[in-house]
């Protein structure tokens, strides 16, 4: 039987993976992928709670919103990355620390 706990476990795993990718990878595009993972984890959470607690479509709708937001975020993020690359010829995150000094 697939219960709520299973959904939440997968969601948690996705979330942790996303966090780890965000923290560990120095490539900006990889970090954006990490963000996608975190968003998907939250979308899965919404869908799971809706399925097991009440029978309306609120969670599903929010999940759809999250997908749209993720797409928009990816577009904006990639745009920033391209401009950054044009400027520095690098997509290494440590090159983006120049605001200090």
């Amino acid at each position: 039987m697939i219960n709520l706990g299973s959904y939440l476990a997968i969601s948690f795993a996705l979330f942790v993976c996303g966090i780890l990718v965000m923290i560990a990878r120095k490539n900006i595009i990889a970090m954006l992928l990490g963000i996608e993972l975190i968003l998907n984890a939250s979308a899965l959470n919404f869908a799971a709670y809706t399925k097991f607690t009440n029978n309306n479509l609120d969670g599903h709708i929010v999940s759809l919103f999250i997908i749209v937001i993720a797409a928009a975020e990816a577009a904006v993020g990639l745009g920033i990355v391209i401009r950054f690359f044009q400027l520095r010829e690098s997509i290494h995150i440590d090159d983006a620390a120049t605001l200090q000094n």
Partner: protein, 720 residues
């Protein structure tokens, strides 16, 4: 009429505001400033006239208005210290106000003609306004303290007016001399005020009268002399300074350095009148202090001594200056012989004819640009109006019957004669002798001046030919003619003779002697009923019915005594008429008929003449002996004390104490404040900065770790 702030205060305030306003606009709008000053004093005159009419309508000895307000109140608990200011109008004030404003108005009008070529035309009027308002304030004052304030204000104005031509060295010195000499008297006057304050508790005239009436001064001594005498002498010394009595008379002759209209103001309406006015106000104190003989002697010496000096003067203004001192001496004799009423009348009549004499002298000086009488002569054809005015005034001052000077001076001399013949104190004999002798000399030197100026042949043809013919002009000689009209005795006595035999004013005959009430020991109880009203309160005096005064021929004495005194008065009157005509005749025979040669007198009494020319060496005494031998060494001593002790130890010592304090303070400032606190603040901020800067690394992943850790910690706390 009701007496509120708006009906009385303008008398003083309008000239004062004219002064304040003109002080600002005088440079740009000179003509306007002159018009404002003259207009202001004229409005004051109208207000004073209103009070005078009221005073004549009420026609009672008990007429008075006393309004006060609290100036400041420093009372603490049971200790009362409250100073009131206010106005006190009685019959004397009403007459005085009319005289001061009237004479001042005419002097202002005359000045618009006399001064109009002067580069400081407007400034002169600024001073005149302040001067007049100060005098009016003094006359209206109800207490000695405000009298003193206005007194000093007048001292300042006389200083600026005498030194008006400040580019001349003599004028500058004369103004300083006037200021310093009157200051000697002022110091004593202030001392007298303090002495009175210590007994009475305030210095309102009425309260002083009440205290004297109640015997508050009995058995009080200051420095071993009775307090009343002490205060009286102190106040009288103030009078001696202001009214130029011997030995403080030296400033008045020098006061002629000022423009002639200002001399008219100083000698007639304002400055010197203030001194006599004060002594008249303080008459009960003088009487209580038993100092009337002293006052009479001072007055007698002044009256006679100044008259003798006037004999040898050649400057037309100098003659008038000495005649002023001499006439002031008569007023002081009047106080000294208890002739209160006549003394005050002489103050008024003298103010009128002396103002006229000075304006006439101004007219002469303006037309020939010369003050020396030996260079004049024969001017009567050139200056007919001035001659007419001066002739009337000379009759008045010489004491010719039917003129004002006769009415007042004769009564003073008559009273002096009464005391000389009846009083046990023989000093009064001397006073009467000096008085009559002075009257003879007065008649002589005034007509000497008149004859030398206006009669005979012109002695300096150059000056004579350049003199312009006089035309009647509203501001050149009409003021003189108006003033000369009031030298007629009937305005003051209501009759031609001054004895009430020709009745002109009906029941108001002899109004002057009837209404001006002598506050002597027997009548001081009147004042116990006098009450001051607050300014702005409803006037209740209209409801009080005052009994009209009636002329008492016996002046409150028994018929027998009055008869005796009347007889002596008649002798005195006849004597003074004879003396006046003798003086005039002597002047006539010396300077017109030339049957008596003045040169014989000067050569026979050469030493005497020399003393007179040197003004009895008073100036030499003051400058050579008192100032150079006495004050300057003392000054040196003080300066040595100042430099050697005070400067060296007190000032320099204080400086080194300060230097030490400075060193300590500097160390404290550098070490604690600057290094410790100011720099310490900076250093601590810099340290914080180092810490915070490392946290803000710019590494996004570092921030992200922090966010996750914080969030995790938050979630972890929620689970409890």
């Amino acid at each position: 009429m009701d007496y509120t702030l708006s009906t009385v205060a303008p008398i003083v305030l309008i000239p004062f505001f004219a002064f304040v306003l003109n002080a600002f606009i005088v440079k740009k709008f000179t003509k306007l400033a002159v018009a404002i000053s003259t207009g202001a004093i004229f409005v004051s005159f109208l207000f004073a006239l209103r009070i005078f009419m009221d005073f004549m309508n009420v026609y009672s000895v008990g007429y008075y208005i006393h309004k006060t307000f609290t100036w400041f109140d420093l009372s603490a608990g049971s200790h009362v210290f409250k100073v009131n200011m206010g106005i006190y109008i009685d019959n004397m004030t009403a007459v005085m106000l009319l005289m001061v404003t009237g004479a001042a108005t005419l002097i202002h009008v005359f000045s618009t003609w006399y001064m109009h070529d002067d580069p400081r035309f407007g400034r002169f009027f600024v001073y005149l306004s302040l001067f007049t308002s100060a005098m009016l304030g003094l006359v209206l004052s109800d207490n000695l303290l405000s009298v003193f304030i206005f007194w000093e204000l007048m001292g300042f104005c006389s200083y600026s007016l005498i030194g008006f031509y400040y580019e001349k060295e003599g004028a500058g010195n004369a103004s300083m001399k006037a200021f310093m000499t009157t200051r000697v008297g002022d110091v004593f006057f202030l001392l007298g005020i303090l002495a009175l304050w210590s007994v009475v508790g305030n210095v309102t005239f009425v309260d002083i009268y009440k205290a004297i009436g109640a015997g508050a001064f009995n058995n009080l001594y200051a420095l071993g002399i009775p307090l009343a005498t002490f205060a009286g002498v102190s106040v009288f010394l103030g009078t001696m300074g202001k009214s130029a009595q011997v030995p403080l008379q030296v400033w008045l002759p020098d006061a002629m350095w000022g423009p002639t209209p200002c001399s008219a103001l100083i000698h007639a309406a304002t400055m010197v009148a203030a001194g006599v006015y004060l002594s008249l106000r303080m008459y009960p104190l003088m009487e209580l202090g038993h100092m009337l003989p002293f006052i009479a002697v001072i007055g007698g010496i002044t009256a006679f001594g100044a008259a003798t000096i006037a004999l040898v003067q050649t400057d037309i203004k100098a003659v008038l200056a000495y005649s002023t001192i001499s006439q002031l001496g008569y007023m002081v004799i009047g106080i000294g012989v208890g002739s209160y009423n006549a003394s005050f009348m002489h103050l008024i009549t003298h103010a009128v004819f002396k103002a006229c004499l000075f304006l006439s002298a101004g007219s002469v000086i303006h037309s020939i640009h010369c003050q020396e009488m030996p260079q004049m002569g024969g001017l009567r054809k050139k200056l007919p109006y001035t001659f007419f005015a001066m002739l009337l005034c000379c009759f008045a001052i010489a004491g010719v019957p039917f003129f004002s000077g006769f009415v007042s001076k004769d009564r003073i001399l008559g009273d002096a004669l009464v005391l000389a013949l009846t009083n046990a104190n023989h000093i009064y004999k001397l006073v009467a002798l000096l008085g009559f002798g002075g009257a003879f000399l007065t008649a002589f030197y005034m007509f000497r001046m008149l004859f030398l100026t206006f009669f005979g042949e012109p002695r300096d043809h150059h000056i004579y030919d350049h003199a312009h013919d006089e035309h009647l002009g509203w501001n050149s000689n009409v003021p003189l003619l108006i003033l000369s009209l009031f030298t007629l005795g009937l305005f003051y006595s209501g009759s031609f003779t001054g004895q009430g035999e020709v009745n002109l004013f009906g029941s108001k005959n002899e109004w002057f002697s009837t209404l001006i009430h002598k506050p002597d020991a027997t009548s001081l109880h009147h004042f116990s009923e006098y009450k001051a009203e607050e300014f702005g309160s409803v006037d209740t005096r209209d409801k009080v019915q005052l009994t009209p005064a009636v002329y008492d021929e016996n002046h409150g004495m028994s018929e027998h005594v009055a008869h005796e005194i009347h007889q002596i008065h008649h002798i005195g009157a006849i004597l003074s008429i004879i003396i006046a005509f003798c003086g005039i005749f002597l002047a006539y025979s010396m300077y017109i008929k030339k049957s008596v040669n003045p040169g014989w007198w000067t050569s026979t009494f050469a030493n005497w003449t020399k003393a007179l020319k040197n003004k009895y060496y008073f100036d030499d005494l003051y400058v050579g002996k008192i100032i150079q031998k006495g004050l300057l060494p003392f000054n040196d001593l003080l300066s040595r004390f100042d430099m050697g002790f005070f400067d060296k130890y007190a000032i320099d010592g204080w400086a080194s104490v300060n230097r030490w304090a400075f060193t300590i303070s500097k160390w404290f400032d550098n070490t604690i404040i600057d290094s410790g606190m100011v720099d310490g603040t900076g250093a601590s901020v810099r340290m914080m900065n180092v810490v915070l800067r490392t946290v803000q690394s710019g590494k996004i992943q570092m921030y992200f770790i922090v966010i996750v850790v914080v969030l995790a910690g938050y979630v972890w706390t929620l689970s409890f």
